[in-house]
């Protein structure tokens, strides 16, 4: 096997035989089962909690609430320490737990949770951007949590702004200005593996088993709330069964840790799928875009104003807003660019990272508006994009990493694969859009490689394999660096007590950052061997050779994001579809997705990531969205009423391709992939619907109902 080959998936055998142990499959002796107690409203003032009937039930061990925690109740969060371990005073969203029951069996826990009586008074809640932003709206966050914050009296957590060029001059220069507002719905990760959290006392510390992307970040959070040294908090993190950003940060780990320490027994909390809807979601957004251009199609400015609806606690959502919106003007050269984006708190499920990290929302708006802008000056939408697209080295955002790929090549390839210049079959429409995402802005990954006496190798790393195949790719890199057969490399991952520090598994970083760390560790091994064969180098006592490597992406405190992009993910998406005018149903005949990957270390896995991301993008494009009632409750909790793409919803043909110019910062010129093929799906589909029907829809999803309604309105307009 060499670099680029489709090496077999690490951990594949376990996954097809049912032997792979996910957290839900691990049981601890003498464990207690936890069930959360919630209120049937978004926001309620918590009164007396009567646990007597629950505690009388055989098997109930305890009913845990804020009163059982140190006072004031510890708070945590990756950006702001705003989230209490369990609700204090009032609930902030539908699903916010006021108590947690621990019992000997899952049945007993469920039954006891139903017997806990919570007195509460329903309070006014805000669940939409508009409601959260009106004067005198109920405040989601207690202003005392935001000292010295001018926005503390509002529901705007933060406002992010970046700008370059002279907007006034650019506005004067523009010969056409196209301005529209777009809406992106609230959707959820829907990993097929629901979150599971387990904790157990471990000597004078605690051990936690969890479905987590960032075990080391979690370790830090837990050490903070538990007031323990890092060395006393050990995170066991088996490969998650899908994560997509929803398993990045602490959710109920602090709660189960406190409960385990109180009970002095292991406790476990297995969320239902419905409860995962109340634990993680993507950020909803409303984005106004003003695009200025000249009649010849030259873009002069892009002006974006976005409100992202985050939830009741910030989680990582404000970073999602700041980083996702930042590159919202897209991969184009302008004379002036401006992005203002607000993270707006609401009494809804805390939103968090989700594949694309704030970019899909703004991409839907800006790329859709670019199609409209092209049509406004009678220019082909692909031609307009190619005319303005940044070329390698262009400082398209003046204070960031310049364009680092041959993006034109990817864009032209996608246009060619959809047959953009060829006549369309009757009744078909085509759409085209580009996607870009900043890679990690900071990073730190360590890897350790241990060469055993027989020459086989163990690779220790804190990257999590969420399905993206890090296990395979990192083993391939080690095998290649040391000239080993892949079968002689074993990956060791998922335990902070065993593997060295890694900052996080996110932003499509692991192939680049951890990959470089593995390369560095292998280099150190080779240096220790100094050209000698292993047996000679080890000498008569045998033993092993240990190499340690690290890769860093340093912060830049003067940069708007705290650091420039390590690389850019770039993708071109094109679709051809038809619309059933009687039902509004969209049939995608061909979906083309082309990503600039630098260098594919495993071509099959790149294809899997790109096609998988494209299909996930079709979810929010065509069918997915939360529905809320007036009390701020989610009406479509669970798999019956919230649909994600199935094998029956696929484009008739998916054509994926990759551009490899070896121009990335990772091993062998690799860049990160895995998110970008999702970004431009909605805008490409929306443009194709317009092309096929003449109807412009600026709200997602493009559900049959919404498309049909728009078609009816078109007919009504034509009849006038």
């Amino acid at each position: 096997m060499s670099i680029g080959d489709s090496a077999p998936r690490g951990g594949g055998r376990e996954r097809v035989t049912g032997q792979q142990l996910y957290v839900a499959d691990i049981h601890l002796p003498n464990e207690l089962h936890v069930k959360l107690v919630t209120l049937p409203c978004a926001r309620g003032r918590i009164g007396a909690i009567d646990a007597s009937r629950a505690l009388a039930l055989p098997g109930t061990h305890m009913v845990f609430s804020a009163a059982d925690l140190p006072q004031p109740v510890p708070r945590f969060g990756p950006q702001f320490t705003d989230r209490p371990v369990i609700a204090v005073g009032e609930t902030k969203y539908h699903g916010d737990p006021v108590a947690a029951v621990a019992a000997e069996t899952r049945d007993a826990a469920e039954q006891a949770a139903r017997l806990v009586r919570v007195e509460y008074e329903e309070l006014p809640a805000v669940t939409t951007i508009a409601a959260a932003r009106v004067m005198n709206a109920p405040l989601v966050q207690d202003p005392s949590l935001r000292p010295n914050d001018a926005l503390a009296g509002t529901n705007v957590l933060r406002e992010h702004a970046v700008a370059w060029g002279d907007m006034d001059a650019a506005t004067a220069e523009a010969e056409a200005v196209v301005e529209n507002t777009y809406h992106f719905p609230m959707v959820t990760h829907f990993a097929i593996e629901p979150h599971v959290f387990m904790a157990a006392p471990d000597g004078d510390g605690v051990r936690v088993w969890t479905t987590i992307q960032h075990p080391f970040w979690l370790q830090r959070v837990l050490a903070g709330v538990l007031r323990m040294p890092l060395a006393k908090v050990r995170i066991i993190a088996p490969d998650p069964g899908g994560a997509f950003g929803g398993k990045q940060h602490a959710k109920y780990e602090p709660l189960v840790a406190f409960m385990a320490l109180k009970a002095q027994r292991p406790v476990r909390l297995d969320l239902t799928l419905e409860e995962t809807f109340q634990a993680v979601r993507r950020t909803e957004a409303e984005v106004r875009v003003r695009t200025g251009l000249r009649r010849d199609g030259r873009l002069v400015f892009q002006d974006v104003d976005a409100n992202y609806l985050i939830g009741a606690y910030a989680d990582i959502a404000d970073r999602v807003v700041g980083k996702g919106s930042y590159i919202g003007c897209g991969p184009y050269n302008y004379e002036a660019g401006r992005v203002v984006a607000r993270s707006v708190l609401s009494h809804t499920v805390p939103s968090t990272a989700m594949r694309g990290f704030g970019n899909p929302q703004v991409n839907w708006a800006v790329e859709s508006n670019l199609t409209e802008a092209a049509l406004a000056v009678d220019m082909d939408p692909v031609e307009l994009r190619l005319k303005n697209l940044a070329r390698k080295g262009d400082p398209f955002i003046p204070f960031d990493t310049p364009c680092d790929g041959d993006w034109e090549q990817a864009a032209k390839r996608a246009a060619e694969l959809i047959g953009w210049d060829k006549p369309k079959p009757e009744g078909r429409g085509r759409g085209f859009a580009l996607g870009i995402k900043s890679g990690p802005t900071t990073g730190l990954s360590y890897a350790m490689v241990r060469i055993q006496a027989d020459g086989s190798a163990l690779v220790y790393c804190g990257t999590q394999d969420l399905g993206q195949g890090a296990r395979t790719v990192l083993a391939q890199i080690c095998a290649n660096e040391l000239g080993l057969a892949l079968e002689r490399v074993t990956m060791v991952m998922g335990d902070t007590g065993v593997v060295p520090y890694d900052q996080q598994t996110s932003a499509s970083r692991s192939t680049v950052l951890m990959g470089n760390a593995v390369v560095a560790a292998c280099k150190q091994v080779r240096e220790q061997l100094g050209g000698a064969d292993l047996e000679t180098a080890l000498g008569r006592l045998g033993g092993e050779v240990i190499g340690v490597g690290q890769a860093r992406k340093e912060a830049d405190p003067d940069h708007p994001l705290g650091g420039s992009a390590a690389f850019f993910e770039f993708n071109a998406t094109a679709v051809e579809l038809s619309v059933d005018e009687d039902t509004g149903d969209i049939t995608i005949h061909r979906h083309v997705t082309v990503s600039d990957v630098g260098k594919a270390i495993n071509r099959l896995q790149v294809k899997m990531q790109d096609e998988g991301a494209a299909i996930m993008g079709l979810g929010h494009t065509l069918m997915e969205h939360y529905i809320w009632d007036d009390a701020g409750r989610i009406r479509n909790l669970g798999a019956i009423d919230y649909r994600i793409p199935t094998s029956m919803d696929l484009p008739a043909e998916m054509v994926s391709d990759m551009i490899e110019n070896g121009d990335g910062p990772g091993p062998y010129g690799a860049k990160g992939v895995s998110e970008v093929a999702l970004l431009a799906v909605a805008a490409a589909v929306g443009a194709a619907v317009r092309d096929a029907t003449g109807v412009v829809i600026r709200d997602l999803p493009l559900s049959p109902e919404r498309v049909w309604t728009a078609l009816q309105e078109r007919e009504a307009t034509l009849a006038k």
């Binding site: 097809v16 032997q19 990993a191 629901p194 490969d239 799928l273 998988g612 793409p645």
Partner: protein, 161 residues
């Protein structure tokens, strides 16, 4: 508790179960066969798909007592029964076609695909899409899964020749 008998992956098992426990509960919690996965619990995701008396079912929708006297096959039965280390052609095809990302849905996908191939030796792509429509994959490996099923059917035809 109610005593029931199962022929589970070829072996007779006599156990006592709670009357309200599903076949999924019993497989995972009482029999420690955790290859069968729990996700939606409403028969929509297919992660808990097993074969009961020759038909695939969502084991989250079947009470364990309803399976009394029945024959149950789970993902753990798919590898070559004479040599558990040898993967079946279907399992092998899932790996070689890149059908496995996170893997959580895969036991259910395999059981559904295995059932489809038992009923239709050479399914068309639309037949495969329909046959697997009850099994969600959020990683979006559908094309690769369909390719794997198609290749398995083609491989089986090759052997017969």
């Amino acid at each position: 508790m109610i005593p029931i008998n199962l022929r589970l992956n070829g072996e007779l098992r006599a156990i006592s179960v709670e009357p309200h426990h599903t076949l999924l509960d019993v497989l995972r919690d009482d029999l420690d066969l955790t290859g069968t996965k729990e996700c939606c619990l409403v028969g929509e995701c297919g992660a808990c798909t097993v074969r009961l008396n020759g038909r695939i079912v969502d084991s989250c929708l079947v009470l364990a007592v309803e399976a009394d006297g029945g024959e149950v096959e789970t993902v753990e039965s798919l590898a070559d029964p004479s040599d558990r280390s040898a993967l079946s052609p279907l399992q092998q095809a899932f790996l070689s076609h890149g059908a496995v990302q996170c893997g959580f849905c895969i036991p259910g996908q395999l059981m559904a695909a295995d059932d489809l191939l038992r009923h239709v030796a050479h399914p068309t792509r639309p037949e495969i899409e329909e046959g697997l429509a009850g099994n969600l994959c959020r990683c979006g490996c559908y094309y690769q899964i369909i390719d794997a099923v198609e290749a398995t059917a083609a491989g089986a035809a090759g052997e017969q020749k």
